[in-house]
Amino acid sequence: MALNVDYVARETGTNLVRNVGLTIATILTVVVSLVLVGAAFLIRQGVDNAFTTWRGGIELIIYLEPTATPQQTAAMRTSLADNPEVKRSEYVDKETAYKEAKKLFKNSPEMLSSIKPSDLPPSFRVVPVRGDVATVKVLENQYAKSAGVREVFSANDTIRTVQAIAGFISNLVVLAALILGMTAAVLILNTIRMAMFARRREIEVMKLVGATNWFIRVPFMLEGLVQGIFGSVLAVAVLVFGNNLFNSQLDKRGIKLLANFAVSNSDVTGISVILVVVGITVSVIFSGIAASLYLDV
């Protein structure tokens, strides 16, 4: 069916300006909820970047001597596998360790240039059955004296606390984003319902003369699309601006400790794309639902 571009543009425009207040409120709600979703992602990403080695319940890292023999490595593997206190362990060879170091120090190339893969010790990352301090201490002492072991590190309380707090905050942010997301959805439904109610005479005539339901719906769905586009583009702008501000503060104040929390531009781009896609899809779907729901005005 030939959709008349003039008609669609005119109707969508009228709908958008008919209730500017509600349109703006809807867009802002979309912005805030998407910004929160994005922020939660970025916090998670930052924490993950900072503690790459301490993810997924890893409490203990056993560093072997760079000169450790394959026999010593194999013995350690068997010992860990047989230990009832060890839930899981993972062997990290020199190359993998170097890749992680590259990621960790991407913001300080001078540090990276001083490292070679052969300098890095291979290690075992250990997830114990119970993660309490006492158990971890016992394991630490047990393996510190094994053959070929250089050093044993355990996750200290600071790392655990930061991870826990960050996890809690990002969960909280996700929850807030969900609530706001629902608010945005309800607002979109409502904008469309009001637009359709205002146009009920037109819709009645359209049905009478044989306009298809799709034809009737399209201008209203486009209204949702425009709201989704504005909302998600603004949200991305806020996030990029916020992330740059955070990074520049890290640099300016020379907070070395937090430098690892920086999120790369590719991460931000990835999240932005996700937000735009989600924002637009959700608003189009909801306006489509609303347009079908309220077509019998």
Binding site: A2, Y7, R201, V205, L208, V209, G210, A211, N213
Partner: protein, 225 residues
């Protein structure tokens, strides 16, 4: 063109609006539906337009069983049926030209078609000079002409009119009837619900009389009674 086979329509609350009604209307006929208020005239019109579906019986329009019509096909059925109502149903914020053009626009007719068809139909109903006016600047009779123009601009096979003269004085009604007669002479089947005795008696066309939902009379060249 139109066939009703033992059609029964019951609204919620057990209101029987149409009871076992059967009737056949040929292409090009002009039929009056008469009967007192509440006898089921509007219901019959709405059934033909598939605004309502019957509880029992079959309805064929242009050879198609419209009860079984899937919902996405209904718009295409309605493109073959023009509708005119007592209250005109014009859009107050559109000019006369725009009101008529709207009917073509929303079924996706191309612009050049709209630009030629709309002035032609407004000429036919005698309102070429009022194209730029708004509905509230027109008399009742003129507004009804616009609504007829809108219903007929797409050259439908059937024109349904539900009390089109209900709000008009007798002199104006005569003008509307002339217009409907003219449309009928182009081959369009016209079904008109009315309880205007004078009109029915003067036109001497087929009369189908309803009484409490039943067809009690079907007469060629009939009168109101």
């Amino acid at each position: 063109m139109i066939t009703l086979e033992n059609v029964t329509k019951v609204y919620k609350g057990d209101v029987v609006a149409l009871k076992d009604a059967s009737c056949e209307i040929q292409k090009g006929e002009f039929v009056f539906l008469v009967g007192p208020s509440g006898s089921g005239k509007s219901t019959m019109i709405r059934l033909l337009n598939r605004e309502e579906v019957p509880q029992a019986g079959k309805i064929f329009v242009a050879g198609k069983d419209i009860n079984g019509l899937s919902s996405w096909k209904i718009p295409y059925l309605r493109r073959n049926i023009g509708c005119v109502f007592q209250d005109y149903k014009l859009l107050p914020n559109k000019t006369i030209y725009e009101n008529v053009a709207f009917a073509l626009e929303v079924i996706g007719r191309p612009k050049h078609v709209i630009k030629t068809q709309v002035p032609a139909i407004l000429e036919l109903v005698g309102l070429a000079k009022k194209q730029r006016n708004y509905p509230d600047e027109l008399s009742g009779g003129e507004q009804q002409r616009v609504s007829i123009a809108r219903a007929f601009v797409n050259r439908p096979l059937i024109l349904l009119a539900d009390e089109p003269t209900g709000n008009l004085d007798p002199a104006t009604s005569v003008g509307i009837m002339r217009l409907l007669d003219r449309i009928n002479r182009t081959g369009t089947t016209v079904v008109m619900a009315t309880h205007d005795r004078g009109i029915v008696d003067s036109m001497r066309r087929r009369v189908v009389e309803l009484d409490r939902g039943s067809i009690v009379r079907d007469q060629v060249r009939g009168v109101y009674e």
